[in-house]
């Protein structure tokens, strides 16, 4: 880290004691000092520094006890909306949205998936039609699997603006005000009993043209920026040995000798080995990516993590035997802070089933690896030259 950065951090910490400054104020000051995302431009939370230095800056603030945002509540904003706003937003949009996103004053969610457009996101049908007089867009449709929709102020939203061209070409990307009239959020209950996600119904929602990201019809390209960052965000963090789900299983094994059988022991050890291999792989990727751009390799980490979580949580129930027949609570609720590891063994087992579906199914990820990493031929596309409106559904 160069001297200038070190000095800037020192100045900031001197002026704003992390222990006493309110979080939003501290983060605001960090943004204004260009120390939020150092590779962002000046005035937008950065200072056009090399991306590689970000980790060191974060480490320096962490060492000083500086506050950060809760990644559960702000992960979509920080991990997905911010890079997309930076890459495709107008100067006005970036200035309006990046700072309150960074300080946590505004919460973001993601309006992408639809009932008819899951893996095939580009099939989405939420219509946006531009009003001639005002230039505003009027949006109608339904989105699903929206975390935080009930708490969010803003959403990143992909819509269909031209149904008469092939699907990838007729989409447009917007920032959507979640408090706008016509936005209705309903909890989406899942197999665990709780509702971690939402369905969002959009009825005549008005979005100013200024809140468009990228050109009309260019929404697919813009969405790629978001998705690429999503996959990395999911698989990219460092984990200590026996972190995550395997740690839970190892603890249960050590604390419950009454449950031991030789066959189960070997099963536990197999998963320990696999989990450690996956952890080292993520760690190796993290070391490689420290300076680089996210690539399709992140897909492999997510793929491995989903499979492991499912195998480990499945074995935990088998190990527990009788106790595995119980559950904690199926009553409907919205968890304040959902955790895949917390909860009971039964919850872990059920929740892990979502890991290979949410944020890109394992099937889609295998396809990405096969095509983008290994260079194997793409799937034969029957929908390439067909107008969106004529696609079979």
């Amino acid at each position: 880290m160069d001297a200038e950065l070190t000095r800037a951090i020192g100045d900031l910490l001197a002026a704003h004691d992390p222990a006493t400054t309110p979080v939003a104020d501290f983060l605001g000051a960090r943004f204004d000092a260009g120390l939020a995302w150092v590779h962002f431009p000046e005035g937008l939370g950065g200072r056009s520094a090399p991306r590689a230095t970000q980790q060191e800056v974060n480490d320096a603030f962490a060492a000083a006890g500086a506050p950060t945002l809760d990644s559960g509540r702000h992960g979509i904003g920080l991990g997905m909306a911010a890079p997309t706003l930076l890459a495709h937003g107008s100067e006005e949009v970036r200035r309006r949205f990046l700072r309150p996103l960074w300080t946590g004053e505004e919460v973001w969610c993601q309006l992408f998936s639809e009932p008819g457009a899951g893996s095939d996101l580009a099939a989405l049908g939420t219509r946006a039609v531009q009003e001639e007089e005002t230039g505003d867009w009027i949006v109608d449709g339904q989105k699903v699997w929206t975390s935080l929709a009930h708490e969010a102020d803003w959403a990143i939203l992909v819509t269909r603006t031209d149904p008469d061209v092939p699907k990838h070409r007729g989409m447009t990307y917007f920032v959507c005000d979640m408090h706008a009239p016509g936005v209705e959020v309903r909890p989406l209950r899942q197999a665990t009993g709780e509702a971690e996600f939402n369905e969002v119904f959009l009825s005549g929602v008005r979005i100013p043209d200024a809140h468009r990201l990228g050109a009309v019809g260019d929404g697919w390209r813009v969405a790629q920026t978001t998705l690429m960052n999503e996959r990395v965000a999911i698989g990219g963090h460092a984990e200590p040995r026996e972190g995550g789900m395997i740690g839970v299983l190892a603890r249960t094994w050590r604390e419950r000798p009454d449950l031991h059988t030789p066959a189960l022991q070997d099963a536990v050890l197999r998963l320990w080995v696999d989990a450690e291999a996956a952890r080292l792989t993520s760690e190796r990727l993290r070391q490689q990516l420290a300076a680089g751009q996210p690539g399709p390799e992140g897909s492999a980490a997510k793929l491995a993590f989903a499979r492991l979580n499912q195998q480990i949580s499945g074995l935990e129930l088998e190990l527990l035997g009788a106790e595995g027949l119980e559950y904690e609570d199926y009553s409907f609720r919205r968890p304040a802070n959902p955790s895949m590891i917390g909860g009971s063994p039964g919850y872990r087992y059920l929740r892990a089933k979502g890991n290979s579906i949410e944020g890109g199914t394992s099937e889609i990820l295998r396809g990405i690896i096969a095509e983008r990493v290994l260079g194997l031929p793409q799937e034969i596309r029957v929908d390439k030259d067909v107008a969106w409106k004529d696609l079979p559904r």
Binding site: S113, P115, A117, G118, S119, D120, A123, V144, W145, L188, R189, Q190, A191, G193, T261, A263, L264, Q310, G314, L317, E318, L320, G321, A322, G324, L325, E326, Y327, E328, D329, Y330, G346, Y349, L350, K353, G354, S356, I357, E358, T361, S362, E363, R366, E379, R381, V382, D383, V386, L391, P392, R393
Partner: protein, 362 residues
């Protein structure tokens, strides 16, 4: 396992058709899902229909005791259909476990009540109990008064009579009939077969058998249960396969049915092979239960194979349905929960493999 009849007779297929038609009518998925959040999680009306309209509650019971004079093979066919519908009725506890125990000790009165369906019985053992050496030790008998707590009891919530294995003061295994126990529901992973805690505090019981006879009756009930549970698991897996294949033909992504994508096709083909194998194993279990030949090994095989297979089938169903399969509204989770719980019921596959090892010196 030689000389096994692994197919279905015409009578069995007819029985299946009747049960399936009734369940399609009275226990569609939305009704079953809603039932899981009702005050009473057992569908007693459906139970009455099975008993009164179809008369399937006493299939292995001789006709002179009010049963149908058929065998465990036919019972297994009913279980397949009940599994396919994850129907919330106490059939397994009453018509398999309790009935098998009563048949073993030669009891007649309660047996005929269970056979006609006018009473529901439950074998008061933890549902995870594996067959094999060992006798349940949760309840102690003191001068005919029973005390103890048994958790994870299947179908006890609506049971009129409990069959309670208990240990006498000197450790002798005994089997009692009990009617006045305290039964509390447990939050159960399996939403369509809610388990219960049975608490006995110096409750009077009627002694049915003692010593080796009691041990043999409980052992036979558990072995019969393990052998027949595979048929229920088969039904669960068949639902998973059939429903997923249908969904794969109808759900379009990328302008094509997802069932046209080769990776999905191959997984469904593998699943079909697995379910075919489950069917053979389940039929072997039912036939062995009916004939009694080689039952310990066949029951262990049935559970060692079918437990994991049903879990795989329902896990694949959830995965291949994508997001919708993970929602509360879609019934896939009911089957997943049933399959996973059933894999723990009557001993995990691990224990059954250990039992096979003892039985054939492997």
């Amino acid at each position: 396992m030689s000389g096994l009849d692994l197919n279905y007779s015409e009578v069995e297929e007819e029985l299946r058709a009747n049960v399936r038609a009734l369940l399609a009518d009275r226990a569609p998925a939305n009704v079953t899902l809603a039932r899981t959040e009702a005050e009473q999680t057992t569908d007693l009306a459906l139970w009455r229909s099975l008993a009164d309209e179809l008369g399937v509650t006493g299939l292995p019971v001789p006709e002179e005791l009010g049963g149908a004079g058929a065998s465990w093979r036919e019972t297994a066919v009913v279980l397949e259909e009940l599994g396919r519908a994850v129907a919330p009725v106490p059939f397994f506890g009453s018509c398999v476990l309790a009935t098998a125990a009563l048949l073993a000790v030669g009891e007649r009165k309660v047996l005929s009540q269970l056979a006609s369906g006018e009473a529901v019985g439950a074998l008061t053992v933890p549902f995870a109990t594996a067959p094999g050496p060992g006798f349940p030790s949760g309840v102690h008998a003191d001068d005919g008064l029973l005390s103890g707590t048994v958790r994870h009891v299947a179908d006890a919530l609506v049971a009129d009579v409990l069959l309670v294995p208990a240990l006498a003061g000197d450790g002798t295994p005994e089997l009692y009939l009990v009617t006045g126990a305290q039964v509390e529901p447990m939050v159960s992973l399996d939403m369509t077969r809610q388990l219960a805690v049975v608490t006995l505090d110096r409750v009077e019981g009627v002694l049915l058998a003692s010593g080796a006879e009691a041990a043999a009756a409980v052992g036979l009930a558990l072995e019969t249960g393990a052998a027949l549970l595979a048929s229920e698991q088969l039904g669960v897996a068949e639902w998973a396969l059939t429903t997923t294949v249908a969904y794969a033909k109808e759900r379009h992504q990328f302008g094509r049915p997802i069932g046209g994508f080769q990776a999905v096709k191959h997984r469904l083909a593998d699943l079909w092979v697995l379910v075919s194998q489950m069917r053979a194993v389940a039929r072997a279990g039912a036939d062995a239960a009916a004939s009694g030949a080689d039952l310990p090994l066949t029951a262990a095989l049935a559970q060692a194979f079918a437990s994991g297979a049903a879990v795989t089938a329902t896990e694949e169903a959830v995965q291949l349905h994508g997001g919708i399969g993970f929602t509360w509204e879609h019934p896939a989770h009911l089957y997943l929960k049933r399959a996973k719980s059933a894999s723990l019921a009557l001993g995990t596959a691990d224990r059954h493999r250990a039992r096979i090892s003892e039985l054939i010196n492997l």
